[in-house]
């Protein structure tokens, strides 16, 4: 029988025939692997996931007319947006503000693109339906409260176009919007509908853009737009862009810490088990030495046990880690996580590092065991 075969036999027998002893250590490695893999996947995915989530949390770049003008041309805005990488633009929404009257009372009416709004302002909550047709509108929650109108009601809006007489137009309220912002006090209608009423097509007051990129990158985009489309002034929506990066890096730091702590606990748990085992196995270590084992042989056996422990905890840990990552990702980001493959060997390395480190301590203790203790009574 080769040395390796006998070595394997000793190490495996030691683990398998003392499995109740090693169970805690095994569990620790399993949990460590699970957390490492789960957190690793989320850590890696956060910039992508959160980028999408947070950047869609309102626009982070706003286009307005250059030189303090109140009207910009949508054609120009489209040219500006064409300067941005397609895959990073979450959405771009035009907003045009007009005043209309309901029962002689002035209301701010916003013309916009509802399908785009849903991308740039995903946090809006609509009671009822989003408008489908040009004569369907949303009213803000505050207006709904004052006027006692609700989804499904009709509202007659009076407008005075720049040329010609006043028009009274009956619109259907398809829903009530809760944005938590200014929109709660506005009426929102499709931009196309507003254009048929008031003319001046192809214009807006602002275009809000949501970009999935880091703030420095967005600043670069802004500069490019500034340079290439002189009719527009881009403005960074600073507050959101910055807080995103902060939240992102804090979240990553948190995950880093949690993972570190869990690995450390695993280390302590495995280390304690191994050390307890050494205390229990003093007689066995003394005997092995009495039989002629040198320190190297004994240390290798402990490390061998650590390696097998790492493998035995890592393999099921991969499976549970995968599910853990999915669970976290689904509950936090509401989407499935892509487990990057490099995490698989990385978790193995982490498990090995932990168990080998944990076996070094008992191995060092084993070196001090005297072979003489096997002789005599005891």
């Amino acid at each position: 029988m080769t040395r390796q075969a006998m070595f394997r036999r000793i190490v495996l027998s030691s683990l398998i025939r003392r499995r109740s002893r090693m169970l805690v250590a095994l569990l620790a490695v399993l949990i460590g692997t699970t957390v490492f893999l789960g957190m690793g996947a989320v850590y890696y995915d956060i910039p992508r996931q959160m980028g999408r989530e947070f950047r869609s949390y309102g626009a982070n770049l706003v286009l307005v007319a250059a030189g303090g003008g109140s009207v910009l041309k949508l054609e120009e805005a489209r040219r500006a947006i064409a300067l941005l990488p397609v895959d990073k633009v979450v959405g771009a929404t035009p907003f045009r503000y007009e005043t209309m009257y309901y029962n002689k009372q002035g209301l701010t009416v916003v013309g916009t693109d509802f399908s785009a709004v849903r991308k740039t302002s995903p946090y809006w909550r609509v009671q009822g339906e989003w408008p489908q047709k040009d004569d369907e509108i949303l009213i803000g929650a505050d207006i709904a409260e004052h006027t006692r109108l609700y989804a499904g009601s009709f509202i007659a809006l009076e407008v005075s176009p720049p040329k010609g007489r006043k028009i009274k137009k009956e619109m259907k309220i398809s829903g009530v919007v809760h944005s938590g912002g200014a929109e709660d006090g506005f009426v929102l209608m499709p931009l196309a509908g507003m254009e048929t009423l008031l003319g001046a097509g192809g214009t807006a007051a602002v275009v809000e853009i949501s970009i999935a990129a880091a703030s420095e990158e967005i600043a670069a985009f802004s500069a490019a737009i500034q340079a290439k489309t002189p009719g527009l002034t881009p403005r960074l929506v600073k507050r959101i862009a910055d807080s995103e990066t902060t939240v992102l890096s804090r979240l990553q730091a948190l995950i880093f810490m949690v993972t570190g702590i869990v690995l450390f606990l695993t280390l302590i748990c495995v280390g304690t088990t191994m050390l307890t085992v050494v205390m229990e196995r003093r007689g066995e270590i003394g005997l092995k030495k009495a039989l002629g084992a040198d320190n190297k042989a004994i240390i290798f056996e402990f490390i061998g046990e650590g390696v097998v422990l790492a493998l035995a905890g890592w393999l099921p840990g991969l499976v549970s880690g995968y599910f853990f990552a999915q669970m976290v990702s689904v509950s936090v980001f509401s989407r499935e996580v892509d487990l990057p493959f490099f995490l698989v060997p990385l978790t193995l390395c982490a498990s090995l590092a932990v168990t080998i480190t944990a076996s070094l301590l008992p191995a060092a203790a084993a070196v001090d065991v005297e072979p003489a203790l096997v002789l005599g009574g005891e």
């Binding site: 040395r3 027998s13 398998i16 003392r18 007689g283 009495a290 002629g292 072979p371 096997v374 009574g377």
Partner: protein, 223 residues
């Protein structure tokens, strides 16, 4: 030719003089019993002869080599090559089967050889127990296993500290029978025992008292 020679060997544990100026020679092929009251230094002597401890003073020559000044590493090598140890507490590895418990001694010595190990088990009558764990063996079987392990690397010297201390009479006799066989084959055996009956099987009986060698007589005269 003497396989073992002690000259003025003393052992101090702090203030305790465990051995005092012991001089003793053991010829190759001899069977020596060591007797003495508890605390008289028998185990201490075995530890020194078995290369598990260094004497504080004196010279120990084992198989022609002076081992009294060797360091731990060299002592380990000599112990591995020349000494077979048998213990009162058996000291079998609980998670290894009978055959593995013997093979591990081969493994630390040179090369594990299952066939040879099985022959050694056969010799001590444990063939049918080869795959059993120590806890599944009786005391006598465990001690026979311990003997098989001590013999597996053909040691120059077999040291047994109270090998029958935990055994009943019939198992004691089985062990003594094996010793008789080994002796007949030319092995050198040193047995520590409290039992005059066991000592009587040896050729020579050495007695210790408070760390001193007080008598060294042929076994017949010991009776």
């Amino acid at each position: 030719m003497n396989i073992l020679e002690l000259k003025d060997v003393s052992m101090l544990y702090g203030q305790v003089m465990a051995l005092q100026n012991i001089s003793l020679s053991v010829a190759s092929g001899e069977w020596v019993a060591i007797m003495g009251a508890s605390g008289s230094g028998k185990t201490t002597l075995m530890n020194i002869v078995g290369c598990m401890n260094k004497a504080t003073r004196g010279t120990v020559t084992l198989d022609g080599e002076n081992i009294s000044r060797l360091d731990g590493r060299d002592l380990t090598a000599i112990r591995r090559d020349k000494i077979g140890l048998i213990f009162q507490q058996f000291h079998l590895i609980s998670y290894l089967t009978a055959v593995e418990n013997v093979m591990i001694a081969q493994y630390y010595h040179s090369m594990a050889d299952e066939q040879e190990t099985l022959r050694a088990l056969k010799r001590v009558g444990l063939t049918h127990r080869a795959g059993h764990l120590p806890r599944q063996l009786s005391g006598g079987e465990q001690q026979r296993l311990c003997i098989a392990r001590a013999l597996i690397n053909y040691p120059r010297l077999i040291l047994a500290d109270e090998p029958t201390g935990n055994l009943d009479e019939s198992n004691q006799n089985t062990v003594l029978d094996i010793f008789h066989q080994l002796h007949a084959e030319g092995s050198t055996i040193i047995v520590v025992t409290h039992s005059p009956e066991v000592a009587a099987h040896a050729q020579r009986v050495v007695s210790l008292e408070f760390g001193r060698l007080v008598s060294d007589v042929p076994a017949q005269r010991f009776h």
